[in-house]
Symmetry: C2
Subunit: 136 residues, 2 copies
């Protein structure tokens, strides 16, 4: 039997939550956002639905930062900046040069490319600011 999807308010809320933020949240973050509205929400449900969305390809995983998997409500490949101090993940506007790279790369490895992730790492503006404050 084919698995038929049923409607679920919590699932909807989880998806809406991740799609309406720019923080590239972890499961825990989504959970804590929705908990007030759904007092009986379980973290397991968040994990289960996030996994589901990933499989369906409507969200993407950005990998693990400081032990927590981070998600992106957007599915198209794009560029991120991760602050190595606070773990913030900041979106950067699409950089078109990569289109060319993609075809170059697929030829080089003789494989197929499903997507890419270009990630810069360093210290974000806010953390630089904080440092200054402390040093001052």
């Amino acid at each position: 039997m084919e698995q038929t999807r049923k409607h679920s308010k919590k699932r909807d809320a989880i998806l809406r939550c991740i799609q309406s933020t720019t923080v590239h949240p972890s499961a825990e973050w989504v959970y804590s956002q929705l908990k007030p509205q759904f007092p009986d929400l379980s973290l397991a449900t968040v994990y289960r639905n996030l996994t589901l969305f990933k499989q369906e390809g409507i969200i993407q995983s950005l990998g693990v930062v400081n032990g927590l998997e981070r998600f992106d409500g957007t599915t198209d490949p794009h560029v991120h900046f991760i602050c190595s101090q606070c773990g913030a993940i900041i979106d950067l506007p699409h950089i078109s040069v990569l289109e060319d790279l993609q075809s170059t790369v697929s030829k080089k490895i003789n494989g197929t490319i499903a997507g890419y992730s270009l990630c810069f790492e360093g210290t974000c503006e806010q953390c630089l600011q904080t440092q200054e404050d402390i040093t001052a």
Copy 2:
């Protein structure tokens, strides 16, 4: 008191191991490689030293793939390809276009950039081959 580093055969071996392979290994992989040569080696030691090398900046972490953190004995930022089927991480020759991007990005975010990681994802040649074999 300043922590003085002492010499350790196992540490040396761990570093040599990760520096002399192109597989971008996990801690477990390094452990299993060295275990025959050091029967009393502990996985904890591998983890501890890997963490140490990371802090010293002589190796880099490529993030978590299928639940396992993967390392690279090389520290300079470069491009990788990850096979989403088998988890293989393949090095790709440096792509110079990124130099320009880096400065563009640092201006955009008003932060400092320590490095980047450009990662393509898809199916590697070997896995494509395997699929053909199965389908055939």
